[in-house]
């Protein structure tokens, strides 16, 4: 937070850096999560609006995955609260998660099902019949180039195909909010391209809110509308992508800004 305030004072972009809390899809307030003695998330706060693509960025072990898991109710926060679609995810889990889709970083999927079965299974768990999702299944399977893997046991799939299966399943449940943990890891370039198009379309046309964590610059710079850079469980800087890029300066890239904010430099690392 100290770094963030310094930057604001210098550039005077504080207003731009604040993401509007009106019609918020996800509100994270003072979130703390500990694993024994280790504080994974330390007082994190941010807001994701509908129709926005919010990207959590940070070094390994910064607390991104833990934050996303708390947002989808897989982990209990030790302090603070998370509102999803206006409901506290801890106190009113059922209402909060009704319109949420999630893609974990290492998706563990039932190994005895095929990807096709898993997709329909996830839809069925949310109460959708085969007929209701059939067209979407066909569309997304084609978009993500999954035809060849559809009838193989999930256990035999590559990491990329597993990831794509989890992404398609999350899209089938007609979510208003999608939480994805490093969704493009291990996915081939054409599917990455298609993924970005799908995200942009769902956000802009259908108002779906995305909370992503990623290390991929092309995703962060090309798709995300808002960015939060976290380190050691704390928010270092947060704002809309435009504001963040203005902070970086005219000729600088997001990468340069990221290195600067984290206090890293090529010379320093030698």
């Amino acid at each position: 937070m100290l770094v963030a305030l310094k930057i604001d004072a210098r550039y005077g972009y504080w207003d731009d850096l604040l993401v509007s809390k009106a019609s918020s899809a996800i509100v994270v307030e003072g979130l703390v999560k500990k694993f024994g003695d280790v504080v994974a998330v330390d007082g994190l706060s941010f807001t994701v609006g509908f129709g926005r693509v919010y990207c959590l960025v940070g070094p390994n072990g910064a607390g991104k995955t833990t934050t996303l898991r708390v947002v989808v109710g897989l982990l209990k926060p030790d302090a603070g609260r998370v509102l999803v679609d206006g409901f506290d995810v801890r106190l009113r889990r059922v209402e909060a998660l009704r319109r949420v889709g999630y893609v974990p970083d290492y998706p563990n999927l039932p190994s005895y099902l095929t990807p096709l079965e898993f997709m329909y299974y996830v839809a069925a768990l949310r109460g959708y019949s085969r007929g209701e999702v059939e067209a979407d299944v066909k569309y997304y399977v084609e978009v993500f180039n999954l035809e060849g893997d559809l009838k193989k046991p999930i256990r035999t799939l590559s990491r990329g195909s597993l990831q794509k299966t989890a992404i398609v399943a999350s899209l089938l449940v007609r979510p208003r909010i999608l939480v994805m943990d490093e969704p493009l890891t291990n996915i081939e370039i054409d599917s990455q391209f298609m993924f970005k198009k799908v995200v942009q379309r769902l956000a802009s046309e259908e108002g779906v809110a995305f909370l992503l964590s990623s290390h991929m610059l092309s995703l962060i710079e090309g798709v995300c509308t808002d960015v939060g850079i976290i380190n050691k469980g704390k928010m270092v800087v947060e704002g809309s992508m435009d504001a963040i890029m203005r902070l970086a300066g005219e000729r600088a890239s997001f990468e340069d800004l990221y290195m600067k904010i984290l206090g890293r430099s090529v010379e320093g690392s030698r």
Binding site: Y102, P104, L109, L125, R126
Partner: protein, 539 residues
């Protein structure tokens, strides 16, 4: 040799650490963790030494009074030896699925060391770890079966340090020379001959006869040590270990030059191949994409797609069921009633308890490997977890009752008393309760364990949970609940067999217990749903 010792040390410590990390991520190398583990291990070890010191000379062998009981050779050793010979032969010469490099140790193969050093290092490391793991378990069992300790140590060290190197190196060399298929045929013929010889002699002389062709290659050293014990006492132990170790070094250093890095296969590869084969079998079915409701989808996937599906349980237990029925009728035909009662009192009850506990350990494996491994899917997409908890409980209650039914049918056939069969109904509430305990234990394991690997995968790595006090504590409720259910069944069988319980009570219990079971099932499944919704899930 220095390289081999270094590798052995790494293999040993890493096996220990990986076992520990299952339950206490990153804690092993902290001082209190090491001191705690050392104290527990020390206490168990001292206990063992005390037992051996206290009873070795005083307890006599019922078959041969000149020998202490814990040296018991005889039929048990013959059968076990024959099985080990057949299994190791089959593994190296017939199936060729060589399991040598444990997971996470593939990196050793790329180090600038002689292949013989790598092989010696891995072999010694695993042998040391298995031995250290076995000692406490052997001690515990030695309280019940005194001769078990030495036999276990003997078999493991002999198989790992003598048979393994010989079979492994010779099978590799034969394969390279293109002669493995010929030897495979010879080995299979040898096994068939040994089995036929055993059957022929059993038929001719009556009783169980194990052909020396099958048992002697394993037992010869055991008998030498036994003879030495008569002459030099405990020094024979040292002589045995010295012989085995020298043999290992000789084989590895003289024949190890024939080995190549490509001769090593990892546990992981073998496991993956086996898993894929099993999965392909499971997937010979129509693709299932249509369900009428979320609960229907859950019921079909959780209940029908796994090894504990009622359909597979029926297929798995039908031969056992029919076999036990046939055995029961045979026994009834040959044994007088008074022996029958004695037989049931002495053997059936411990067998029932052991079977039950074994089944429960299988349950926890299935839970961690399948049902709970994908808990994140249900937490995110199912939302209301009461469906899931109901189906989950139903699955294990059915599985538990199938095992109980087989035992009850066997006992009922033996006694020709229908009241015995009603044991299934009488113990149903206990089944429901213990399944609930098992599920809670699994959830607890899930919360603590960094990865939700089934315990069997830990065993595959050479690890045994005996070393890990935390895992032991976690398994304790599981074992207690298993013992509770099957002890209640055993107690019921005992009472009915001896006519100690009036039929009116049996009838009353049979009528009320389904109602009690259903109430307990509803109550526990809603409790479980709450726990499943609250527990931290590491995807």
């Amino acid at each position: 040799m220095r390289g081999a010792v270094k590798i052995a040390k790494i293999v040993f410590l890493n096996q220990l650490a990986s076992l520990w990390r299952q339950y206490r991520p990153g804690k092993l190398y902290k001082k209190p963790g090491i001191i705690g583990a050392a104290i527990i291990y020390g206490v168990v070890l001292l206990n063992m030494l005390f037992v051996v010191y206290k009873y070795a000379g005083s307890v006599t062998n019922p078959l041969d009074p000149s020998l202490p009981e814990w040296w018991l050779p005889g039929a048990v050793l013959d059968v076990v030896s024959a099985l080990i010979l057949v299994l190791t032969f089959t593994q190296y010469y017939v199936r060729e699925s060589l399991v040598v490099v444990p997971p996470d140790f593939e990196f050793v193969l790329y180090q600038p060391l002689h292949v013989r050093e790598i092989y010696a290092g891995i072999g010694l490391g695993i042998a040391a770890f298995v031995l250290v793991s076995l000692v406490p378990m052997a001690v515990l069992i030695s309280f019940i079966i005194p001769w078990f300790f030495f036999m276990l140590i003997y078999l493991f060290t002999y198989v790992m340090l003598v048979l393994d190197p010989i079979f492994f190196i010779s099978s590799r060399v034969l394969r390279r020379l293109g002669r493995l298929s010929i030897v495979s045929v010879v080995v299979q013929a040898y096994i068939v001959f040994g089995v036929l010889h055993s059957l022929f002699n059993s038929f001719l002389f009556g009783g169980l006869f194990v052909s020396p062709f099958l048992s002697y290659p394993i037992t010869w050293l055991y008998f030498i040590v036994l003879s030495l014990y008569e002459l030099v006492g405990y020094a024979s132990f040292l002589a045995y270990f010295l012989i085995v170790f020298c043999f290992f070094l000789l084989v590895v250093f003289f024949a190890g030059g024939w080995l190549d890095v490509s001769d090593f296969t990892s546990f992981r590869d073998v496991y993956e191949v086996r898993l894929l084969r099993d999965l392909k079998k499971v997937l010979r079915r129509d693709v299932l994409v249509s369900w009428s409701s979320p609960s229907d989808a859950l019921r079909r996937v959780v209940l029908e797609f796994t090894v504990y599906s009622p359909r597979l349980m029926f297929r798995k237990y039908l031969p056992l069921f029919l076999g036990s029925l046939a055995a029961a009728f045979l026994v009834r035909g040959f044994l007088p009633q008074e022996y029958l009662v004695e037989l049931v009192g002495q053997y059936l009850i411990p067998i029932v308890v052991a079977l039950g506990v074994g089944a429960y350990v299988g349950f926890i494996r299935e839970l961690l490997a399948n049902d709970l491994k994908y808990l994140w899917v249900y937490r995110v997409y199912l939302i209301d977890l009461s469906f899931f908890s109901r189906v989950l409980m139903l699955k294990y209650v059915i599985a538990s009752l199938v095992v109980v039914s087989v035992v009850s049918v066997l006992a009922a056939s033996l006694s020709a008393d229908f009241a015995v069969f009603l044991g299934v109904l009488v113990v149903a509430p206990a089944c429901v309760f213990s399944v609930f305990i098992v599920l809670l234990t699994a959830v607890l394991l899930l919360r603590r364990a960094k990865s939700q690997e089934p315990a069997s995968e830990v065993y595959l790595r050479g690890g045994l949970p005996v070393l890990d006090p935390v895992s032991q504590l976690l398994f304790l409720p599981l074992v207690i609940s298993g013992i509770m259910t099957y002890s209640s069944l055993a107690l019921y069988l005992f009472l009915v067999f001896h006519g100690l319980i009036p039929y009116i009570y049996v009838a009353a219990a049979s009528v009320t217990s389904p109602v009690v079971s259903y109430v307990a099932y509803s109550l526990f499944s809603s409790l479980l749903a709450r726990v499943l919704a609250e527990v931290d899930v590491r995807v």
